[in-house]
């Protein structure tokens, strides 16, 4: 049973999986055929073997390419960069399809309480991107509106302005979600929405 215990331990390291869920998953896997399990483990192991971070924007990409599909797309606007904390956030914006500029994925937010410092996420490479004769004209922060998000965007703003003073720095708007009913909107959001009315 030591082997099963090891599997449970490994599974419970995944986000959102506690020990109970890990046990359920482990015993489910025990009942699968060897073929199915081989497919699953192949799918998992192929991720690090074939995927890497884009050198420019840190989006995930195929190892055999030079830059990611967004950075290499010449039809996209090169002057705007949206800064997000995760690749999931990037995918959410891409799914909308409206934004046709560049991205920069930080892979986290500065969070002193969680021990995430300035060297742990991809901050310096964004500052590098805007240095000197850069094509970039605007940086748009689309970070979670909490203390960590705010700390990260202020830090980046300060660092960017030190190396390039001509860049416009903006932040996505805070307000009432479209289609929602005013009475159910969180009070803090409603207050912000009234403050930032257009």
């Amino acid at each position: 049973m030591v082997i099963v215990e090891r599997l449970i331990n490994e599974l419970s390291k995944l986000p959102g999986i506690g020990r109970k869920s890990a046990m359920r998953l482990a015993f489910h896997l025990l009942n699968q055929s060897l073929d199915d399990l081989t497919d699953l483990s192949k799918a998992i192991i192929e991720v690090p073997m074939n995927i890497k971070e884009c050198d420019i924007c840190h989006n995930f990409m195929d190892k055999k390419d030079n830059v990611c599909s967004i950075c290499s797309d010449n039809k996209r606007n090169k002057e705007k960069v949206v800064v997000i904390s995760t690749v999931q956030d990037l995918m959410a914006i891409e799914e909308v399809g409206h934004y046709r500029g560049q991205y920069h994925v930080l892979h986290g937010l500065i969070s002193p309480l969680k021990g995430i410092g300035i060297d742990d996420i991809r901050l310096d490479s964004l500052v590098e991107r805007v240095k000197g004769e850069s094509e970039i004209k605007e940086i748009i922060f689309a970070l979670t509106p909490n203390t960590d998000g705010e700390t990260t965007s202020i830090y980046l703003k300060n660092s960017i302005q030190k190396v390039n003073n001509n860049i416009k720095i903006t932040q996505i708007a805070k307000g009432v979600p479209i289609g929602s009913e005013i009475e159910y909107v969180d009070k803090m959001t409603l207050m912000k929405a009234i403050e930032n009315r257009t």
Partner: protein, 364 residues
């Protein structure tokens, strides 16, 4: 709004009671150890989701012969009913408000307000500054629901700031840039908290002075001073004071100043009552502080909170008891009073008497 009915299951020594209350004055009497305060606490718990004694844990609230406790209460608000169910297990408590178990706690607590008077209230004046901050934090929250969000945010930024100071003290100099940013956030949230506190005090202090003078035959010149290191109106001043302390803070690895260090000083005739007041004077002031808050709540929201008086009449001399009960007579609030003997309490109209014996209740 008033508490019409409460059904209590295994809450402290009360095993199974179903009680209808009057919307006026409910006197709960019985000998010590029979559960008067426990009954009062079940109401306090419903309106604050906290035990009366801060250090009591959930398990202390549950009857020793049981594994869980349930309090179900029905409030009547003009012509509609509010039904609240609170389930307590040793691990956690659950609130079900009008059959919804996803209630925003902050707006719930803002809606169901109560003010508790206990013999321990003396500590608000005699105790450490934390006791006064707790009293005023709750009072300000009664009038401004968002004040708690501010406090929660403040505590988070404070924690972050302490962690950064510790990192820097332990040699991580890169965190200095982050500290600059956190200082700005710390300043903004601190100024917000000051603003809330000062707004409250501006209206509260005149009511307090008035109440003290009515309560006392002596000529008091009472005043309340908010004690802080900062000029709370000036952002630049705050920020530069904060920076001036930075070296020391890095040495101590924590924040050494801010709203969580401030105090409320109560002064009479130029002396701080905490140090110079007699026991009787301190008692008078704590009573006045609570009554003044109740008057302020009424003036602002047009509603009285529910008043819970735990064995307060035995603590007060006859003059103050008379004043308190004259005050209670004038207000249109639901009131619960516990006492060991009915004759400790001046007779008023609209009083109903509930006897409690071994956790069992009986209307008389």
């Amino acid at each position: 709004m008033f508490l019409k009915n409460i059904k209590i299951n295994n809450f402290r020594n009360i095993q199974n009671e179903d009680i209808n209350f009057s919307k006026n004055i409910n006197i709960i009497y019985g000998d010590n150890g029979n559960g008067k305060t426990n009954l009062l606490e079940s109401i306090y718990y419903t309106t604050s989701l906290k035990p009366i004694k801060k250090k009591h844990k959930l398990i202390h609230l549950i009857n020793e012969n049981s594994k869980a406790s349930i309090i179900k209460s029905t409030f009547e608000n003009n012509d509609y009913k509010e039904i609240i169910k609170i389930a307590i297990t040793p691990e956690k408590k659950a609130l079900i408000y009008n059959q919804n178990n996803n209630t925003n706690i902050q707006s719930y607590l803002h809606k169901f307000k109560s003010v508790l008077f206990t013999p321990d209230d003396l500590m608000i004046i005699k105790g450490e500054p934390q006791k006064r901050r707790d009293f005023f934090n709750k009072a300000i929250f009664h009038l401004n629901q968002y004040y708690y969000s501010n406090l929660i945010e403040y505590n988070k930024i404070l924690k972050t700031r302490n962690k950064i100071l510790k990192d820097i003290a332990e040699g991580d100099k890169r965190q200095l840039a982050i500290l600059e940013i956190i200082n700005e956030q710390f300043t903004d949230i601190s100024l917000k908290i000051y603003q809330n506190r000062i707004n409250y005090l501006i209206n509260y202090i005149p009511i307090l002075i008035n109440t003290v003078n009515q309560l006392s035959k002596k000529d008091f010149l009472p005043y309340l001073i908010y004690k802080t290191d900062f000029n709370y109106k000036n952002r630049d001043d705050f920020l530069s004071k904060l920076k001036s302390k930075q070296k020391r803070e890095i040495l101590y690895k924590r924040t050494l100043t801010g709203p969580h260090f401030d105090d409320y000083k109560i002064i009479t005739n130029d002396k701080e009552i905490k140090f110079f007041g007699s026991q009787g004077e301190i008692r008078l002031f704590t009573l006045a502080m609570k009554i003044a808050h109740i008057i302020y709540v009424k003036e602002t929201t047009n509603n009285y909170p529910i008043l819970l008086l735990d064995d307060i009449s035995s603590e007060l001399d006859s003059n103050r008891k008379e004043f308190l009960f004259n005050f209670l007579k004038t207000i249109d609030s639901q009131i619960f009073i516990t006492t060991t003997a009915i004759n400790h309490i001046p007779k008023l109209e609209n009083m109903d008497f509930l006897e409690i014996k071994n956790g069992k209740t009986n209307w008389k």
